[in-house]
């Protein structure tokens, strides 16, 4: 049997055509300020996935603004996250993590046999302040050995990646380290074969805030990821926060004039680089988030595997603003979304 190209794979599964996504874009444009679109209209292209996934699966719009299990009601949250003040004014932050196999819907009707942290892809976002102690209890409820390897300062015993540090199914380990340095980091499984374990869904964002907080902002977590659905070491579905085109159907609502801060992490496997391009705007770039001074101002940022950055911008105009990978193939296969900027009424 001849090897299917990614495009023919999409045709074969009936996902190619983009009436839905285009309609979303058109709707959004119809309500904006009336200014011409910053880019030529996309309606003439054929654009990837049609329709929406079932509403009771993963929720990219909730994931976007959640960290330390803040999306859960208090009693449920207490099962997974506790914070305890320490004498020096820092916090002990304790997390309950588990690995479990779960089928997730990554595009309408397309289910991916994921390996997850806490049932979700990306895994729960961990957020601490520089100097806090982070303690993660990790239970492997999956069917394969896994681990959690955090980026950031830590001694080798806490690395999770060294020989003998795999956690066997039904074993429990505790990772403990100080949150350092401030910035936007990541965590992921580090069991071989590594690219398989990562791309199956075992990764997440690890944000460390500076002791003097960054200016108040509307903060968003975006993990660029992709899925090899037919195990040919190529991705067929691309997204930010797992579900193809999710933010085309549910645009990210932001406020004109208010600072927006994006914690952007590239967890794409198999493709060496990914990128984010924002229409009609520019943003400041803080590479790895380890400086308070921006290193760049651009509208397109390329990130290598495992690379990440903080982006800051302020919407000047109301209306719809597209963002997507500037690898147009990735964009068409799901990595595309919309911001909807609104003016605050009464100001």
């Amino acid at each position: 049997m001849s090897k299917l190209s990614r495009r023919s794979w999409l045709r074969a599964t009936g996902l190619a055509s983009a009436a839905g996504a285009i309609a979303g874009a058109a709707r959004a444009r119809g309500q904006d300020s009336g200014l011409p679109a910053a880019h030529p209209p996309h309606d003439s292209h054929v654009m990837g996935v049609v329709g929406r996934v079932a509403p009771d699966g993963l929720k990219p719009s909730v994931y976007l603004r959640s960290w330390n299990f803040s999306e859960l009601p208090a009693d449920e949250r207490a099962k997974f996250y506790r914070e305890t003040p320490r004498p020096d004014g820092t916090l002990l932050r304790e997390y309950e993590f588990f690995a479990a196999d779960r089928e997730i819907e990554i595009a309408p009707g397309l289910f991916f046999p994921a390996w997850t942290y806490n049932g979700q892809v990306p895994g729960p976002t961990i957020r601490a302040t520089e100097g806090d102690r982070v303690r993660v209890t990790f239970r492997n409820l999956g069917t394969h050995p896994h681990s959690i390897h955090f980026h950031g300062w830590h001694p080798p015993a806490m690395d999770g990646a060294l020989p003998g540090q795999e956690v066997q199914p039904r074993e429990t380990v505790v990772y403990e380290f100080d949150a350092d340095p401030f910035g936007v980091h990541l965590y992921h499984c580090h069991t071989v074969p590594l690219k398989r374990h990562i791309h199956k869904g075992l990764y997440g964002a690890f944000i460390v805030d500076p002791r003097t907080p960054r200016p108040p902002a509307d903060e968003l977590v975006m993990v660029m990821n992709a899925f090899d659905t037919n195990f040919d070491v190529e991705n067929e579905v691309y997204a930010v926060n797992t579900i193809a085109h999710a933010y085309m159907y549910e645009p990210i609502r932001v406020t004109v004039g208010r600072l927006v801060r994006i914690y952007l992490v590239n967890m794409t496997e198999f493709d060496p680089v990914n990128s984010l391009h924002l229409h009609g705007m520019f943003f400041d770039v803080f590479r790895t988030g380890t400086s308070l001074t921006p290193s760049d101002r651009t509208d397109t940022l390329m990130l290598c595997q495992g690379e990440r950055a903080i982006l800051e911008t302020t919407f000047r105009y109301p209306g719809a603003f597209m963002f997507h990978a500037h690898q147009t193939e990735f964009a068409e296969l799901g990595w595309m979304g919309l911001f909807r900027a609104e003016e605050v009424s009464g100001t």
Partner: protein, 131 residues
């Protein structure tokens, strides 16, 4: 086929045999009614169907009592099973929105026994209390 010198159609014999078999089984079934307990799997825990607030609840039974556990899986995308190792009771892994049941006899010795979802027993595990 002939029976006592008369020819009898085979289906009639089969039907009679089936009736006799059912009649023989009836007293056994009715003398050991199983107490039915419905469990729901969701959020990496078991819940009693009528108590959605208590994860992995203690289940109290009498020594030797016949129990039917009905498991419903409300965890989208995840497979869960149910087992009481001390009673050799195992319910096959079921997918989201499926239900299945397992019938077993509680251990004869009073005490605390474990019930669990085998793949997720680090989190989905509770006590079967035998009185």
């Amino acid at each position: 086929m002939s029976l006592f010198g008369r020819r009898v159609p085979v289906p009639a014999i089969a039907a009679a045999a089936l009736l006799m078999l059912l009649a023989a089984m009836l007293p056994a079934l009715s003398s050991t009614p199983a107490r039915e307990i419905t469990l729901v799997a969701r959020g990496m825990a078991f819940y009693l169907a009528d108590d959605p607030a208590t994860p992995n609840p203690e289940i109290v039974v009498r020594a030797g009592e016949r129990i039917r556990v009905v498991l419903r899986n409300d965890a989208r995308g995840m497979a869960h099973d149910f087992a009481v190792p001390a009673a050799s009771a195992v319910l096959r892994p079921i997918q989201w929105s499926e239900s299945d049941d397992v019938v077993f006899d509680a251990p004869d010795a009073p005490g605390a026994y474990a019930y669990e979802c085998r793949p997720h027993r680090l989190m989905m595990r509770g006590t079967l209390r035998v009185r």
